[in-house]
């Protein structure tokens, strides 16, 4: 799966599909307030687009777009956004995760502040789910070796071996 899959049909299909998947993932996140959807679903679709890139092209192509270090930062950034959104109301003498108190920061009424608070935490969920899914997939599929598997195959010349 990390080997270079040189198939023009799969590559073209993936190239057409990936931008629409990413747009659709953002739509599922942003429209989660009105229709079924939200951070978990949107994050999984976003992760699927990077996994499709790794399957249809190779590992390097996927890691060039989403660097491993950056991915690890995203993974914790999402939880941080969630917890920070919950902690801001505590500064304004509210309860933890009581988004109504965001009205003092956003200059809206408390009801709309709860609406926006949900959008913030869904963003955190989306980022964490996306990063965790991509990281788990790449670690499991290469047994934690990433490029090393690719280099070993190149030296041994057995490009057809499925890892």
């Amino acid at each position: 799966m990390v080997r270079d899959l040189n198939d023009i049909i799969v590559r073209t299909g993936a190239r057409i599909l990936i931008p629409f998947m990413q747009i659709y993932s953002l739509y599922v996140y942003a429209h989660g307030h009105i229709s079924p959807g939200g951070g978990f679903q949107g994050g999984c679709i976003m992760a699927a687009s990077f996994i499709l890139l790794a399957v249809a092209y190779n590992l390097h192509e996927s890691k060039r777009r989403l660097k491993e270090k950056r991915n690890a930062i995203f993974c914790s950034l999402g939880v941080f956004i969630f917890a920070a959104t919950g902690l801001v109301p505590v500064l304004f003498a509210g309860n933890f995760l009581d988004y109504g108190k965001w009205s003092k920061v956003l200059f809206t009424d408390p009801i709309m502040a709860r609406y926006y608070g949900m959008a913030f935490i869904e963003l955190g969920v989306q980022i964490t789910v996306m990063a965790a899914m991509v990281s788990i997939f790449l670690d499991l599929v290469t047994a934690g070796k990433h490029e090393e598997v690719f280099e070993e195959e190149k030296i041994n010349g057995d490009n057809g071996r499925q890892v």
């Binding site: 914790s76 939880v79 709309m112 609406y115 949900m118 969920v125 964490t128 934690g144």
Partner: protein, 96 residues
Amino acid sequence: MNKVSALIISVIVGLLLVYSESEFPKWSDPNQPASLHVSPRYIEKTVEETKVPNAVTSVLADYRGYDTMFETSVIFTAGVAVMMLLRRPKNGKRPQ
């Protein structure tokens, strides 16, 4: 002997469970306790209190915010655990 006693105990416990099941509310019974207290409150007040038309989102993200927060933490922990168990960069170099 061991297997026979295990069989007897399983049958007795199974019968007890089937017997206690007759005390449960019927499927889709509108008067069951679960749909009498919390559910109508959320369904009626969601738009009024949060302006979110989708009650699932408002329950998930607002009324049950703690639950969602620790669900996210679980996914984060899973990602970090897989990374710590499997990731072995070459020559101990830091991954890029």
